[in-house]
Subunit: 186 residues, 2 copies
């Protein structure tokens, strides 16, 4: 799905198809880094196919704080908003196809464009909901609950993401995750 | 500060002062509940004076997941977005003056109004940043770091919020918080 199709389907059915910014399509291999630690990001990405993970350095080791699946926008969004170097690294989990735009063009469009603001508002609402849901899960649920929620929400996670990475997302050791998986299967 | 002044100052200096929704002003006493657990929220609030706290039931006890200070929008936002009953309780920490609007009117304005969408986008970006910042702090910092960040960001917290509530926010016991405070003072 392209950004245009996403807007027509999900943001505004009356959208006339004229985007107020340029977009570009890019194929990247597994392991490709979209934004690295300490980099100042300038792009906003939209995932057409593949899976993206977002990593953070937490107390000396890498933690995964987010996965993105198509169709969805992704970016080092807090760095874009605050103009600070990124404290996350954004990486392709598998080969991906993405569409991207320059954040500066989006910002110019925000000045006058209703559709740009609708898009920015709704995409941000979704990012917000994802963060809040995760925070509430971490506070109120066990690692097993969180793993169950993850496989229910994203069945494809199980197939394509190494267990070691999933355990980094859940904040537990790979051994704990193995025990949880055995309990669920049995 | 009113919502109109907030928009002029912080969202769009060209704003002509005509809001695309009605707003109402309300004084509430300390302890007033704006949205309760399991309630379906219908309002968006804007804090003019006072302090707001947001509570969640986490593993059998109340945890505080957020504070809001003037000027800022607040609401059971994820419930408004998902139309689910609220899993948070929003409460006045001290006597407050708020301005509020009906979310349904805001939603209608989102259809056509540039300023409504700018406001919704930017307010949501700020809420998003706040959640991400908190998540990153919890992952990468100690309770002492988090307490130092809190008193630096919101010096007024120290004066007006009981220590018991601050410890609920940091996810530690009041005794641990006392030890941290002693270390910081000495």
């Amino acid at each position: 799905m392209t950004i245009k199709e996403y807007i027509q389907l999900d943001i505004d059915p009356q959208f006339n198809g004229a985007l107020p910014f340029n977009t570009y399509t890019q194929q990247v291999p597994k392991g490709y880094v979209f934004t690295d630690f300490q980099q100042i990001p300038t792009q906003v990405f939209f995932i057409q196919t593949g899976i993206i993970q977002v990593e953070i350095m937490a107390k000396g080791s890498i933690r995964i704080i987010d996965f993105f699946f198509a169709p969805s926008f992704f970016a080092a969004y807090s760095s874009l908003l605050t103009k600070q170097p990124s404290d996350v690294r954004i990486k392709a989990v598998v080969d991906c196809q993405v569409e991207w735009l320059n954040y500066s063009e989006l910002q110019s469009a925000y000045e006058y464009s209703l559709i740009a603001n609708k898009l920015g508002r709704i995409a941000t609402q979704r990012l917000y909901l994802k963060r809040v849901l995760k925070e509430k899960q971490l506070l109120t649920q066990t690692a097993e609950d969180n793993y169950r929620a993850l496989i229910q929400q994203y069945p494809e996670v199980l197939q394509q993401i190494p267990l070691k990475e999933i355990s980094k997302y859940l904040g537990i050791t790979p051994e704990s995750l193995s025990r949880i998986r055995k309990r669920i299967i049995s």
